[in-house]
Symmetry: D2
């Protein structure tokens, strides 16, 4: 656990941007643009150890954090970035033991972060209609060691949700507003609804539909600004991500008028 084992998944980092998430293998090597790193130099050394490539460039060997697994998923789809996953999970109060419905699974990046929070007693039910996405997601989830905490449902979530008494429904799909009646049925009283949408039109349709059965509705966007701290040259980065998505939060409410429907 404190030293790198053979077959461990490690994060080999040149700096905060160039990084490789790989499984160590005896007598094998990692080929990079800064030279070749020999896994034999890594296996058995302590985590945090610096090793040199054959060209003398220093690489750092870290145990991966869960956000590294999420960022480094094999993928066919756009993923939810750690900044947005952070806001989603904290604002939605996701915690160990929670029962979560998520859709769509996509490449499984958010699924991984959610499952890592709710484990060991909680569970993520992740809906996805594309079989090819499911195959990729399953591999990513297995790599992150979270298979036991996730049930993937190959089903169109706009047609219904199988689970009940769910703590949170978290949506990253094209038509979240179509899922809202099903989310209402699946959620426990006061349960949290989250939707992640790149466009304002999706966000508007979602918020308008939420007026039916949900309260405490709020939409935010999260901007991360990297600051380059260097002697006599400290400044924000020249380029930044200007937009990923709007994130809408709401909680299921119960009124007499809703009891009858």
């Amino acid at each position: 656990m404190t030293t790198v084992g053979e077959g461990d998944i490690v994060l080999i980092a040149l700096d905060t941007k160039k990084r490789w998430l790989v499984r160590t293998e005896k007598d094998k090597k990692l080929h990079t643009h800064k030279g070749v790193v020999d896994f034999n130099d890594i296996i058995g050394s302590e985590y945090g150890q610096c090793v040199e490539s054959n060209t003398g460039v220093e690489f750092m060997v870290f145990y991966p954090l869960m956000k590294d697994f999420a960022l480094k998923v094999d993928r066919k789809t756009q993923i939810i970035y750690p900044k947005d996953a952070a806001i989603i999970t904290t604002y939605a109060g996701i915690e160990t033991g929670n029962q979560i419905v998520e859709a769509g699974t996509g490449s499984g990046a958010l699924t991984i972060l959610l499952a890592n929070i709710v484990r060991p007693s909680g569970r993520v039910y992740s809906y996805e209609i594309e079989e090819k996405h499911i195959k990729i997601a399953e591999k990513n989830i297995e790599k992150a060691g979270l298979t036991d905490y996730i049930s993937i449902r190959m089903k169109d979530v706009t047609q219904g949700i199988d689970e009940q008494n769910i703590d949170a429904v978290i949506l990253d799909l094209a038509t979240p507003w179509l899922v809202i009646p099903h989310a209402y049925e699946a959620l426990r009283g006061g349960g949290v609804f989250v939707s992640y949408s790149p466009t304002i039109e999706q966000t508007q349709k979602t918020v308008y539909a939420l007026k039916n059965g949900f309260g405490a509705i709020a939409t935010v966007e999260c901007l991360i600004r990297p600051i380059l701290v260097r002697e006599n040259m400290t400044r924000p980065a020249t380029r930044m991500v200007g937009h990923t998505a709007y994130i809408t939060f709401a909680r299921k409410i119960i009124r007499r008028s809703f009891k009858n429907h």
Copy 2:
């Protein structure tokens, strides 16, 4: 658990801004600027239920999320807001089972969010030198039900850290750079250092000091922009929080040159 019990702590919400975190008490009432809410109307009803005040205004009754406990702490100090707590915990990879050192405790807002993530098997060791802060923090932690997962140390963390093999050291104090040598000793190889500082000068001193023993150093700031989604009037909020703090992340590295010190 799905219905409100007597003595439960509930979040009574008028909307996303006006909210009260209170303990229900039979035959008692909550007095607000929108009328009086009777706890007898709440006890026994399902979570998510809407109740009316004596003036006919509708209030929603929710079980509190952990970020509500963090936001609503009694406090004498500036707290770390959920947006920054979200980025800290996700980027630092905090997860169940982690051993965390935090300083200073302050009012305990971040302590609560950290303990809720690392529980049940992990632990937060929280350093604070002001006895009056500790007293307030302990009450806040008890209210959140997390006393079992937190050890408060009344000690100046710039003088040393008692723990070893720690997963993350998270600092919110005036002189984080003075803690860096102690953080290095306390952290496991590859362990995560986080510092939260309002000013650029603190951030600079911290980053320069981290060059000694740490890698993957990165500083960010997180801006949350609320979007008001309303029929034909959708727009970002007129006022927003422009700055709370710079957050610096780093990981402990091990080099030959460090082995000797």
Copy 3:
């Protein structure tokens, strides 16, 4: 011109926020929360001079910049702030000699900034339907000394524009899309259309309508972040303006299909 004359309009400033735009008057005084400033101390002194109030607080005496006139207009309406006026005038290429149509006049803040740029040979034709706004705007414009360069038209600009061969049409009103056909007729070939709208729905309707006859359509928003530079305490301001409006720019184009209409 370099010394303050009796009857001059001066900007008396405590700092960058507390400032008074007043006309000097012999034997009169300015009453502030930091004491009383005697105009006799100001008249005849050089611009930039610091004077003390009767309580010993220092005030700076400046000649007003045109943005000070714009910021300090008497007003009944929301005004366009200097940050947005700056982007509008620079991106629209407003310059001396331009013929500009503006609507609505409102309190005249943008009118003043536009007239100050196009003078002496250019002119601003400013449309407004509310007589009470016109009266206030006229006073503000006179105070800024720009009456000669502005024609106020008490007319509904959605019903038509009287001018032709105009360099730019600049709109700050509720339904800018209704003005677009008139703007097309009024503008010279390649002339610039600008619309300033607080909501995304107004912006959408405007952009969609512009597809008919305009090219180079672009929408931006401008965020100004104040930085507090202080020894060992440098940081962005805690609160900032999160949103004023979306600004849309376009240029009139001529196609065969448009020639026939």
Copy 4:
């Protein structure tokens, strides 16, 4: 003036990003990645006219705005972008008739925007030490038609400023704090000092030096967020410019203590 003449400088635009600033020439063509545009199709047509390349792609023909000249300068140096030039000129109250000192000239982008505002009666004195920059700037200024309103001084502005009674001193150079005593001497009472610096350290040194003789000191940064308005796909752009520079403003003040120095 309303039709394109032979030898006119025109802006040929594919959209808001791909644009060419070129001089029309009879029987010559513009070669682009979207085909060849024949100047003979352009000369004599009205401004705003759309023309087709030989591959059938539509191009728009505009008269250039001054910000187009500034953006499209030939250059060897980083230029001040229109967003920052807009804030500088509006916040500094630059207007027709002003006498301005600017340093360094660089490629002349800001020089062009300043001269276009102060003309015809005002003047820009632009300091630059690199002869090769001056040569490029002079060509850019000539292209923009502003040679008559600009005096380029090949001199190190940190060694002194020749002019007096100046309305504004505007600096874009590595060590603005070294120019502050000279700026004080050159400015009229209440005159405006502006400094544009990419790093926080430059900004800090500048602000601290300004405490000597200047008041109303304020630093801002300007962020422009492009919004993509498209049917059912409206959203901010994915990438944006995260930082160009901090802009500091101040005004010359006169105190007894300064009179003696």
